[in-house]
């Protein structure tokens, strides 16, 4: 077995754990906290809740919320200016992937200088970042756990992936009660992002015994709880989904992801397609493409999804993929890429972008831009 690394943040998990935000910030030496969130989270009332927790401990803070889905490079730059002007020293993000990834971008630039695009790719970060406490209000990105941040370069219309151990937050506070304001529609895309994390990290060539445990745990919990959670939005199921998200997060931050993420990043950068929606459309197609390179592992995935083994590894794997397609139909969400992207002429450019995505390095099967174009067509 090759040498591998495994790093995760410190976790605080549980209903009501939002109240620990002040203690965590204090422990990390905060004198002024830079709080990053977005308008949606604000509307749900969580920003005010968090700020109340900080106020109750007389903690000083600055609030920044110029964050959009698929967060942009200029939103990082604006945040950096505010952080520096206000002389903040601890970064706290509250929200989904967008505020958390923006917060990481800001933390990176205030400590390392330059522009966010200077750090695209893996291991480009030199200096340690200011302490980070991240509080997710949804699942999917697991940016509160991961060494990833994904920021859109507006000029190139490319979603840049930045990977560095320094991007792992110090503390992740995961309070399942915060999932309680999500609607069914808001919850579906992150669930598919988590499914993609579990599957892609498991078949990654750099998967290891420590990540495999979490990939399978995450997948198992997702499969068990997606249907009941979406039907009733009950806290018990939401809590299990939060655990599932964290599980696949611990897997993919250390084993990375593959082709599916490369394809989804490219659609996000060019057409602003919601990341999780891209996965719901692409995951089965990508799994079928990767199958020849990892039959045994895909069979294990199939076994978890369907709850049984079929005649051969390949049959078991294919049954799993088919079951994912059935789930998608059952949920009544788009099943074809054309439903959200009527014009397919730009998919050729999307393929050229995708093949350069850093996640291609950790896919179990190689793919040319033409292979990728065929996959897009298959999903279209």
């Amino acid at each position: 077995m090759d040498v591998f690394k495994f790093a995760t943040p410190e976790f605080i998990f549980g209903r009501g754990s939002l109240q620990y935000a002040s203690i965590c910030a204090k422990r990390l030496g905060a004198s002024k906290i830079f709080v990053v969130s977005d308008p949606g989270v604000e509307e749900a009332g969580w920003v005010e809740k968090l700020l109340d927790v900080l106020r109750a401990e007389d903690l000083d803070f600055v609030y920044y919320c110029d964050v959009s889905p698929n967060p942009r490079d200029f939103q990082v730059r604006k945040g950096v200016e505010l952080y520096q002007r206000e002389e903040a020293d601890v970064i706290m993000a509250l929200g989904g992937g967008s505020p958390m990834d923006t917060a990481k971008g800001i933390a990176l630039i205030v400590s390392n200088g330059g522009d966010i695009r200077d750090y695209e790719g893996a291991n480009q970060v030199r200096n340690p970042l200011p302490p980070m406490v991240f509080i997710p209000t949804t699942m999917g990105s697991e940016s509160n756990i991961s060494q990833f941040t994904v920021i859109t370069d507006l000029e190139r219309r490319v979603k840049m992936t930045l990977i560095s151990r320094t991007l792992v937050p110090n503390i992740s506070i995961s309070d399942p009660l915060l999932l309680g304001t999500l609607t069914r529609e808001l919850l579906i895309p992150p669930l598919y992002d988590s499914l993609a994390h579990a599957v892609e990290s498991y078949v990654s060539p750099i998967a290891n015994p420590f990540t495999e445990v979490w990939s399978l745990k995450g997948l198992d919990l997702l499969i068990r709880h997606i249907r009941p959670a979406l039907e009733h939005l009950h806290i018990d199921d939401l809590e299990q989904l939060a655990i599932a998200g964290s599980s696949s997060g611990m897997a993919f931050t250390n084993a990375s992801v593959g082709l599916g993420h490369a394809l989804a990043h490219s659609l996000g950068g060019m057409f602003d397609v919601v990341h999780g929606t891209a996965h719901s459309l692409l995951l089965p197609v990508v799994m079928r493409y990767n199958l020849p390179a990892c039959k045994e592992k895909m069979a294990k995935i199939g076994e978890i999804i369907t709850g049984k083994r079929y005649g051969s590894d390949e049959e078991t794997a294919m049954a799993g993929i088919a079951a994912l397609e059935e789930l998608r139909e059952e949920l009544g969400i788009p099943c074809r890429l054309r439903e959200i992207l009527p014009d397919r002429t730009m998919l050729s450019q999307a393929s050229h972008n995708a093949v350069k995505d850093i996640c291609m390095l950790t896919n179990p099967r190689e793919a040319t831009w033409k292979d990728i174009l065929n996959l897009y067509y298959e999903a279209w």
Copy 2:
């Protein structure tokens, strides 16, 4: 579900990973490294290997090896003096639980002052410790992962357990090649310590979904690899045991342990009984005692040990306990406490010590000192 915390160090795992010791120390800002090991590890040649790795990168270091099994308070004090005199700034431990626990004790006192006994119990540490890089040469203690350190107070003849998040090393470098110089006799006690970690963390009242995964993974790997590993001492099995040890380590550092550890600590403090040997004698007895309080979980344990389920939870659990007793006989190690402790008159005092052990707080079933005495007698 209650709020829970989950923290682990950064891991570097794999054959040959010892060579990363320098990079890790540098990353933590080392200008002079305080290396702690013991005569046995030195004799096996690993200390020289590590020092060569440090020399190759021109890293300055001080070497300290006045460490015995069940390490003593005065060994911590002597280390503190040397650390301060030499103005070291990063602590590196190489060895089993004894050098690692001693190193933690030293790190604690140089940053927090006072005497080691001032910090007995949970959460008594105020200041952050100097950066720690730990390299285990055996399994069992998992001090390279855990927030525990156990130091013997010679005056009271008590093994003090200290628990604090600050005692988690920054980086754990686990190189399975280092297990290659262990003999069968050296390997058996740590294997039993790991078994006890897996079992006790799983039934702990503060177990949570994140720790349960690791308890079961550790137990499963131990059961699969103990026999072949002890027969051939082949690196492939040793590597799996190292993963098993780390797995149960990640579980117990966050879920703690119970009665079995309280009993073992007491025997260690009073009679210098090797910690893992105590577990090999006590574990089945402790499991039977705890069974009424956690039948379902003990059945899961039994299922993993025996590979099947019996009629009821209780039967499955009992089959697992019986299988552990068979394993012990098969290995030809002592099966009765009397074999290593001919006089049982002091067991009453040992019970009084055990009932005060902090691990009693996380046992699923309460026990008085008389219950404990009966358990000692049962094992005797």
